[in-house]
């Protein structure tokens, strides 16, 4: 029991020190900033590729129904590969650092975005599509002006899931030579309990990032015209 209380006290001390690590004096804000930048870079590059690959694939599988099953199954299979194994497969091909991290995280993001894009488009009321076609809209106009805007809330929900898992998994990239807030965590771990403030600082940073992005996307979702409850 006293051990547990001691752990709890240590946790709060580490948490406090973790926050202090962000401020000049006791902490090293310039390092935090560097790793935060690395973390954001991994997240943005990953999301860029994930969206650029997944949204068109999601659209494709609503047009060519026979591709739906194989593509969703492949993305689901990639999603189940353990992260250490994923890096282990990638490193022999692309080396260590930023590149394998972005590739691995992109592969993990595919499923959520592809599936939500397809579900979102398939969920658009058939009557709306029919009236669009009946008025003489071309397929490209129907896709861009009707289907994608109406599927956007569902697609954004998929992106939200992907971005949060990317932010949390990006910490792991540090283990394989990429710079992210994970650097602080791994440094803290290798210090063998003497630098728990670093572990806390990394964890707090990654958590805050996830919360902020989640909030930002939910704001975008709510600002969509017509769909929003006004």
């Amino acid at each position: 029991m006293t051990d547990f209380l001691q752990d709890l006290v240590d946790f709060f001390i580490a948490f406090k020190d973790g926050i202090l690590y962000y401020f000049p004096g006791t902490g090293q804000p310039e390092r935090v900033l560097e790793f935060l930048w690395g973390h954001l870079l991994i997240t943005f590059v990953t999301m860029f590729f994930a969206i650029v690959i997944s949204v068109p694939l999601g659209i494709l599988i609503t047009r060519v129904r026979s591709l739906y099953e194989p593509i969703i199954k492949l993305a689901a299979m990639l999603y189940t590969v353990p992260s250490l194994a994923m890096f282990g497969i990638l490193i022999p091909f692309v080396g260590i650092g930023f590149t394998p991290t972005v590739i691995a995280l992109t592969l993990y993001s595919l499923l959520a975005i592809i599936r939500n894009t397809a579900v979102g488009i398939n969920g658009v009321d058939r009557a709306i599509i029919e009236s669009a076609r009946g008025m003489g809209m071309k397929n490209s106009q129907i896709l861009l002006q009707v289907e994608l805007p109406l599927a956007l809330p569902v697609i954004l929900a998929g992106i939200r899931i992907a971005i949060i898992s990317t932010i949390s998994l990006a910490t792991l990239g540090s283990y394989f030579g990429a710079d992210s807030l994970g650097n602080l965590i791994f440094e803290g771990i290798s210090a063998g309990g003497t630098r728990n403030d670093k572990i806390a600082a990394g964890a707090i940073g990654a958590t805050l990032l996830a919360i902020i992005f989640d909030y930002l996307i939910s704001r975008i979702e709510r600002s969509l015209p017509g769909i929003a409850q006004k």
């Binding site: 009236s131 669009a132 003489g136 809209m137 805007p149 109406l150 015209p225």
Partner: protein, 375 residues
């Protein structure tokens, strides 16, 4: 205007065609209501006109052109399309919903804005109030008004309407039907209108096209002829055994009302009134005031042997009146529900202009039945 030439549609995997060797024409300015039991291919027939469904065999001509040789996108922009589920774009304002086709046709913004306001006025929605709203804020009836406005946006000569008022409550539906009839009168669009409601078909159509399951044409004729001379027993059954009553929908009160009948005035003496009733062998008489406004009625029973009483003391109130433009069905239904045999017809200033009797209605129904029995 719309011409089907030996059209057959067999869906992939189906053994029987949904529309079988259909040849029919809808002349310019006519509203052709296509009706039949479910599975008769009425929606399939309509959707082949804007190529949402492609026929298996045959040709369709719209304004003289073979549509199967036309670009479907081009074709559809010249055909107004209204569907039961309306299908407004929820993320577009009412203005942008109506502007879809004009925008694709490359109209200038100012022209689109003017057209949108004009259309909103036409369908009875206040432009300043509705222009920038989103569809979710509108009631079902208002949405379908926007649906009709959207279909009319680029003033297409041809309109396709797939059960447009089917999902709207009966009272609003009736109002929208009347408004659409009023709109269509000067517009003279060529319309193909699908419904499963025979009353709606008779009311909205200048032509009614009855299809049997499998898309076999049974009869294409005016509503009046469909009711009075069904081509076969299928049509007769489909129209219903109350087709005589339905025929009353087609007759306006002013076509049958009596205008020349004895009337009393409220300042006449009782003896004078009594004499007139006996002369014409009437048991009641409508009484008007000095400017011809309907004041009430008197019965023989009430005034007999009361020479000293004043007219105003014996006057009885009018229970129901009708208007010259109402249908005989409405008039007859009023007479039935109030249990009266004479219904006064008044104008908008409640002046007595005529009278219809339950005998008039019965005679109309009997005429229809006689024709039916002889065929």
């Amino acid at each position: 205007m719309i011409h089907f030439n030996n059209i057959t549609k067999t869906y992939p995997g189906a053994t029987k065609p949904s529309v079988d060797n259909l040849t029919m024409s809808v002349p310019e300015g006519e509203t052709c209501v296509v009706i039949g039991p479910s599975g008769c291919g009425k929606t399939t027939t309509m959707k082949m006109v804007n190529r949402l469904i492609e026929p298996t065999e045959g040709e369709i001509y719209v304004t003289g052109r073979n549509i199967l040789k036309q670009d479907p996108v081009e074709l559809r922009r010249n055909i107004g399309y209204v569907i039961q589920q309306i299908g407004l774009f929820p993320h577009f304002t009412i203005r942008d919903n109506i502007a879809v086709v004009p925008k694709m046709l490359g109209w200038k913004k100012s022209r689109i804005d003017r057209r949108v306001d004009e259309l909103l006025e036409i369908v009875g929605l206040e432009p300043t109030h509705f222009r920038n709203s989103y569809p979710r804020k509108l009631s079902g009836g208002q949405r379908q008004r926007v649906g009709v406005a959207r279909a009319l946006a680029a003033d297409p000569p041809v309109m396709l309407m797939d059960e447009p008022f089917g999902a709207i409550d009966p009272i609003t539906r009736d109002r929208l039907q009347n408004e659409f009839l009023r709109l269509q009168k000067p517009m003279k669009k060529t319309i193909m209108f699908v419904t499963h409601d025979i009353d709606e078909a008779i009311k909205m159509g200048t032509l009614v096209c009855i299809l049997q399951v499998g898309g076999v044409l049974q009869q294409l004729d005016t509503p009046s002829n469909i009711l009075s001379s069904p081509a076969n027993s299928f049509v007769a059954d489909f129209v219903g055994s109350d087709r005589g009553l339905k025929k009353l929908t087609l007759v306006r009160v002013n076509e049958v009302m009596k205008t020349d009948f004895p009337v009393g005035r409220h300042d006449e003496s009782t003896n004078e009134i009594l004499r007139r009733m006996k002369e014409s062998d009437l048991d009641s008489l409508f009484i008007t005031d000095e400017i011809g406004k309907l004041a009430g009625y008197v019965t023989l029973e009430a005034i007999q042997g009361q020479p000293q009483k004043k007219m105003s003391q014996m006057l009885q109130g009018i229970i129901a009146t009708t208007e010259a433009e109402a249908t005989m069905k409405d008039a007859f239904s009023q007479m039935l529900s109030y249990g009266i045999r004479y219904l006064p017809v008044v104008d908008e200033r409640s002046k007595l202009v005529g009278m219809v009797t339950s005998d008039d209605a019965q005679r109309l129904v009997e005429q229809t039945n006689k024709v039916l029995m002889s065929t």
